[in-house]
């Protein structure tokens, strides 16, 4: 059946596009990093799906098993997951520093550095305060 043979790839595309949309349409940097992670996970699913053989088994040698799924994508992806969390940590550290320097992690509030004087926040700008009790 054709649609069954491609449903994983379609789901990967949908997940990837949700991540992509989160990255380009959301202004909050933590949200953008979450979007990047969604995007990244969709690529992982793509690789693992490509390595799967229907009726296969986990590639650990055992008696009575003849068909194993492809171990190579597993190796590539398991290292990529750990590298992914390391790069996520770097992104979050950058967000923390931006927050400290500008008082916000919303990207459109960063556009005008002249408005970011320490003691005069713009009228109507509530992003930098009140979050603690929310």
């Amino acid at each position: 059946m054709d649609w069954l043979g491609h449903i994983n790839y379609w789901a990967v595309v949908i997940l990837m596009m949700i991540g992509f949309y989160t990255v380009i349409a959301r202004g909050n940097m933590v949200k953008k990093i979450m979007g990047l992670n969604l995007f990244q996970t969709s690529v992982f699913i793509m690789f693992i799906s490509a390595g799967k053989i229907i009726g296969g088994s986990t590639p650990v040698l055992r008696e009575g098993i003849t068909v194993y799924s492809n171990p190579l994508p597993h190796v590539l992806i398991l290292t990529a997951i750990v590298v992914g969390v390391a790069t996520t940590a770097v992104g979050l550290a950058l967000a923390v520093r931006i927050r400290e320097a500008y008082g916000t992690i919303e990207d459109d509030e960063l556009l005008d550095p002249m408005d970011q004087t320490p003691d005069h926040s713009r009228p109507g700008d509530h992003a930098g305060k009140g979050d603690g009790s929310a």
Partner: protein, 340 residues
């Protein structure tokens, strides 16, 4: 049956991803992200990738979620509502998605044993991993021996990321405008430390987590597991200790300086094993010259290399948490000084 589990998990993943996109409360987003990771771990397990599922469950649902939460104590909890409309972004995304779905039509059917990906190098690994190395887990064999230079590169990437986080967050904070959260969070942290049930449960659970980490570290050649997973699981045990008993108590167990040294020692051990092969007359990261029996040599090499990876990964994950958690305290100290 295999399709049924697969499709159900994919539908759940799409639903949770939509929820992550839509929710404005970033705490809720972080929790949904943990659910998303756990679901994808389930999907990896259903797709025969036991090692990957273990890694994703430990990394995505454990460390990544903790990092998001740690950052949210330093930044706004709520995302600002969207301004204007995002029709252009939506248009770009839909157009890209349509192109990709059209292109996906050319991909070979999912799960067929004669796909190009299955007939290239994979049959060699599947047939020869055991006779070459005597290691039943082919993933460990490919990771630590056939493709060990690749894995060395990954270990260095993780070390570099650890150094980048240290470099970014070791600059002392300066206070600019009323940007940081008030003292209310401090009580929350204290409440967590005073919670008796949490302390008692953590005392039982942490040794189990550490033991499990050591098990998958040293049993990785025989069952799903290995350095990457073990490092993350071990670090998760330490982070749980830090969350329940406070960062100071956790830093007494494994001080920051030890974390730096361990992060470097791990990759150095990896390189040393590689160079040992050269000194004994082989090539870089060639394990056969290490011992006389080829299987024993390969297994020794794999265990040591995986141990190096595990040490680096665990130390870097602990460094990430140490720096994010301490940043909050430093900011509060600066605020308190300025309030006086």
């Amino acid at each position: 049956m295999e399709y049924l589990v697969d499709i159900a998990l994919l539908l759940l993943l799409v639903t949770v991803a939509m929820a992550i996109l839509r929710v404005r409360d970033l705490y809720a987003g972080a929790m949904l992200f943990a659910i998303y990771s756990l679901l994808s771990a389930g999907l990896f397990a259903a797709l025969d990738a036991g090692d990957v599922a273990l890694t994703e469950a430990a990394v995505g649902a454990g460390i990544a979620t903790l990092l998001f939460l740690a950052v949210l104590t330093l930044a706004n909890r709520r995302e600002r509502p969207a301004r204007g409309n995002n029709r252009l972004a939506l248009g770009v995304v839909v157009a890209t998605g349509a192109c990709l779905i059209y292109a996906a039509g050319d991909l070979p059917d999912f799960g067929a044993p004669d796909n190009p990906v299955q007939v290239h190098v994979a049959p060699y690994y599947i047939e020869n991993a055991y006779t070459d190395m005597g290691v039943p887990n082919m993933v460990a064999a490919v990771l630590a021996s056939y493709r060990s230079i690749d894995t060395l590169g990954e270990a260095f990437v993780i070390l570099t990321a650890g150094l980048a986080v240290v470099a970014l967050l070791s600059v002392p904070p300066r206070r600019r405008r009323r940007a940081f959260s008030g003292p209310c969070r401090r009580t929350g942290e204290r409440r967590m430390r005073e919670n008796g049930i949490l302390r008692v449960i953590a005392r039982f659970v942490i040794p189990m987590i550490m033991l499990f980490g050591l098990y998958i570290q040293f049993h990785g050649e025989y069952s799903p597991g290995g350095g990457f997973q073990a490092g993350v699981v071990f670090a998760a045990g330490w982070i749980l200790f830090a969350l329940v008993y406070g960062l100071d108590a956790a830093l007494k167990v494994i001080p920051e300086r030890v974390q730096y040294v361990l992060a470097c020692l791990g990759v150095l051990l990896y390189c040393f094993i590689g160079l040992l092969g050269v000194l004994l007359g082989g090539r870089f990261l060639d394990f056969y010259p290490l011992l006389e029996s080829p299987h024993a040599a390969q297994q020794t090499g794999i265990v040591l290399v995986e141990f190096g990876v595990g040490v680096t990964v665990a130390a870097c994950a602990m460094l990430f948490f140490t720096f994010f958690a301490r940043r909050k305290r430093e900011i509060e100290a600066v605020e308190a000084r300025e309030d006086d």
